[in-house]
Amino acid sequence: MRVPSCFWPTALLLSSCILPAAERVELDRKVGRAEADGVSVAVADGLAAVRAFDGERLELWAQAPDLRVQLTLPAGEPRTLTMAVHNCTPGSTLQVADELLESVPVDGKVASCSFMFTLSGSSELALRAPGSGQDGPFVFAVLSDVQSAVGSVHEIFERMNQDPELQFVVSTGDLVDTGVRKELTRFQRELEPLAIPFFSTVGNHEMGAPPEVWHQLFGPFNVHFQFRGVGFSLVDSGNGTIDPHVYDRLDGWLGSQRSAPHMVLTHVPPLDPVGLRGGGFRSRKEAAKLLQKLAAGRVDALFLGHIHSYYAFSAAGVPSYISGGGGAIPETLDGIARHYLRVRVDPSRGIREVAVVRID
C-alpha cells in the first residue's frame, strides 16, 4: 500500500507533540554502556554516564550513591584499569571480586573517587557509598531551579557543606537556563567544591538543547536508586508530561518500594496548587493518573520544582512539596527566596522532617 506523502510529516508532527520525550527514553536505554579495546562496560540500570573509556581508563558520572558495573574482558587477557567516578560520595569503596578498594580523591573535585585494579576476567564491580548498607535515619537535600543563578549557586553549596548529616542532594532539574553544553559543564564545575554528590533529572529549562548533551554529561533522564532501603525515583517531566515508557518503569519502581519508604521527584508539578496559573502538567487527566499511581503505590513524598517558591500540600493523599529555590527568578509576594529542603528520613518509619533551609 502506498503511503501518502503527507503521512510522515503529519506523523512526525503528531509524535513530537504527543510524545515529546520519546527521544530521551531511547537515550536512557543506552546510558552506561561503552566498548573499547575489546573491553565492554555496562552500568546496571543505567545509573551512570560513561564520560570516557579507552580500554584502560573508565570515567563515569554517577547518578546514584551505589553502582554496579559489569566489565567484560576478552578471555585470557588480564587488564589493569583505572576507574574515576565523578559525583561520587567521598569515602566510597569498590568491591572487585574479593577485594575491597578504598577510593583515592580526584584532584580538586571533592565528590570524585578514583580506583585502580587488575582484572583477570570479566567481573562485576560494586561501588558503595559509606553508610549505604547501614540502617538508621539519614538526611538528604532537595535543590532545584538554579537556572541563571548558576554564578551564585556556590553559596548554597557552601551552606550544604556545613551540614555534616547530608548524604547527597537530589534535584528535579532546571539546573541551567537552556541546557546547552556550555551551561551544563559550567554547572558541573560549580559542583566540584560540593562535598556530597548531586543527583538530578531534567527540568523544562534543559529542553533548549539536543538531549544528547545531558545524556553525555549526566547520563539518565530517569533514575531510580535505593539508599538504606529508601527508594528515590527521579522522573523526567521536562515537557510537562511523562512518557508512557517511563510510566512502565515507574510502575516497577512503585512495586519494588511498596513496603519501604519511597521519594518521587519530578520537575513539573502534576497539578499546580494555584490552579489558575496552570504551572502543572499539560494534561490534568495525566496528572490525576500519575497522582493515583503514586497514592496507590504508597509514595511517602513527592518533591517538585518548576515554581520558584515553596509550597507544601497534599494531592491524592501524597505529601507534596514544591521547592524551586535554587536562585531562578523568584515568585514574589510569597515571603521566601533562595532555599533548599533538608529531609530526614527513617528507613523503617518514613519521612521524619522536611525543613526549609533559607539562603537569603
Binding site: 504527543i18 521536562g238 515537557n239 489558575l276 504551572g279 502538567f281 487527566k285 494531592a315 515568585e331 514574589t332
Partner: protein, 381 residues
C-alpha cells in the same frame, strides 16, 4: 507551525478555492451587482482579493495587521485590525512582563494570565482575519443562520489518541435546548473500548444577540454560562467533578469592515474548580480541589446564506487542560502552559439535518464526526 495554521485554515474553510471562484463569477456574471457593490473600494486596492493577495500579505500581516485588508482596498478594516494588534500586543507584553518579573506570583497570576491570553488572542485573531480579508475581500453572501433553533443536537463518534490512556473510541452526543434567552446543553461521551464516561450540563443566558425569541442583525452574541461536568476514569481509579462559570461571545466581523464579511471571532473566559476523587487511602476530595482557567478564542467563517443550507467552521485555541486534547507539549518555559488547538465546523445539508466535525491537537489527537439535527419551524427554514 504558522504555515500549518494558515494552510489548514485556508483549506478547511475553503477560502482559497472559493476566492478564486468568486473572482471568476465576478467577471462573468453581471447580476452579482451586490457583490460588486460590496467589494472594498477597488480604487484603493493594490491587488484583487485571492491567492496572490493572501500570499503577499501573510508575512507582512503577521507583523502589521491590516496589511492584507489594505492590499485589497479596505482601509477601514486595515486601520481597525492594526489598532487591535497594537492593543493586543500591549496587553500581552504588559501582562507577560509582569508574570515574568513576579515569577508568576500566586497573588497576581489569576488576573494577569487571562490578560496575557486575551492579548495573544487579539494578536492571533487579527492576523487570521487579515489573511482572510486578503484572500476573499469579504463574503457578504455568507452569513449566520437567520434563526436560532429551539432544539439542536448531534450524535457521533470521537476518536482520541492519547498515549497515556487506553481509550480510543467514544460515542458522543450533545443537545442545545433553548427557551427565549436561556439554553440548556446536556452532553455525554462514553468510551466504547475503556471504562471511561463523561457527562455534562451547561446552562446559559444570552444577554445579547439572536435567540429563538429575539431577532438579531447577525450571528453576534454574548452569553453567561455555568456548567457541571463529571468525568469518570474507571480503569485509572479516579473521577473528577468540575463546576465552571464563563462568559462566551461572538462578533461577526462584517461589523469591523466589509472585507471581513462572512467571518467571525468567538471567545470564552471563565474559571472552573476541579474536584478530584481518587481511589486512594487518605485522599479526600476537599484536599484535591484545583482551579482551572478557562479561555478560548477562535476565528471562523460562515458557509451558505444563513438559510436551510448553511454552516460554519472555526479555528481555535482552547486553554483548558482537562479536555480530551488537553495541552500542547512544548519545551522551554512554556512547558505545560499552553492549551490545545483545534478546528471544528458543521454544515446543514437540508433544513433539519447536517454533519459536524472536529479535530484537536494537544497532548492527544482528537477527531470526530457527528450527525446533526435542528428543529426548524417552517417559517424559519
Amino acid at each position: 507551525m504558522r504555515g500549518w495554521w494558515l494552510g489548514a485554515f485556508l483549506i478547511a474553510t475553503g477560502t482559497w478555492p472559493s476566492a478564486a471562484r468568486a473572482q471568476q463569477v465576478h467577471l462573468e456574471t453581471p447580476q452579482l451587482a451586490l457583490a460588486e457593490e460590496h467589494q472594498p473600494g477597488h480604487d484603493d486596492a493594490w491587488l484583487r482579493p485571492g491567492t496572490l493577495a493572501a500570499a503577499a500579505s501573510v508575512v507582512p500581516s503577521f507583523f502589521l495587521h491590516g496589511s492584507g485588508a489594505f492590499l485589497v482596498g479596505d482601509r477601514k478594516a486595515a486601520r481597525r485590525l492594526a489598532i487591535s494588534e497594537g492593543a493586543g500586543l500591549a496587553v500581552l507584553v504588559a501582562a507577560g512582563t509582569l508574570i515574568y518579573i513576579t515569577g508568576s506570583s500566586r497573588r497576581l497570576v489569576g488576573s494577569l494570565a487571562p490578560l496575557a491570553i486575551g492579548g495573544f488572542s487579539f494578536f492571533m485573531i487579527g492576523w487570521l482575519a487579515d489573511v482572510y480579508a486578503a484572500s476573499t475581500g469579504g463574503r457578504p453572501e455568507a452569513t449566520a443562520p437567520n434563526f436560532v433553533p429551539r432544539l439542536e443536537g448531534e450524535l457521533g463518534y470521537l476518536y482520541v489518541y492519547d498515549p497515556q490512556f487506553r481509550y480510543r473510541s467514544f460515542l458522543v452526543g450533545q443537545a442545545d435546548l433553548r427557551a427565549g434567552a436561556f439554553r440548556a446543553s446536556p452532553s455525554f461521551a462514553t468510551a466504547l473500548d475503556d471504562d471511561n464516561q463523561r457527562v455534562a450540563l451547561e446552562l446559559a443566558f444570552r444577554g445579547w444577540g439572536r435567540s429563538p425569541s429575539r431577532v438579531g442583525t447577525d450571528g453576534s452574541f454574548a452569553e453567561l454560562a455555568t456548567g457541571l461536568r463529571y468525568h469518570r476514569f474507571g480503569n485509572d481509579g479516579f473521577a473528577v467533578t468540575t463546576p465552571e462559570w464563563h462568559i462566551d461571545g461572538r462578533l461577526d466581523l462584517a461589523r469591523v469592515g466589509p472585507s471581513l464579511a462572512g467571518s467571525f471571532v468567538q471567545g470564552q473566559l471563565g474559571a472552573a474548580l476541579e474536584l478530584y476523587d481518587f481511589d486512594a487511602p487518605g485522599s479526600r476530595i476537599s484536599d484535591n480541589a484545583f482551579g482551572l482557567l478557562l479561555a478560548r478564542f477562535g476565528f471562523g467563517v460562515y458557509f451558505g446564506d444563513g438559510g436551510r443550507r448553511s454552516g460554519e467552521a472555526q479555528l481555535y485555541y482552547d486553554h483548558r487542560h482537562d479536555d480530551f486534547a488537553a495541552g500542547l507539549g512544548t519545551a522551554g518555559i512554556a512547558a505545560g502552559i499552553l492549551g490545545h488547538v483545534g478546528m471544528r465546523g458543521h454544515y446543514y445539508v437540508t433544513r433539519n439535518w447536517g454533519v459536524s466535525g472536529l479535530t484537536e491537537l494537544g497532548s492527544a489527537f482528537v477527531a470526530g464526526l457527528s450527525l446533526r439535527y435542528r428543529h426548524t419551524p417552517r417559517e424559519q427554514g
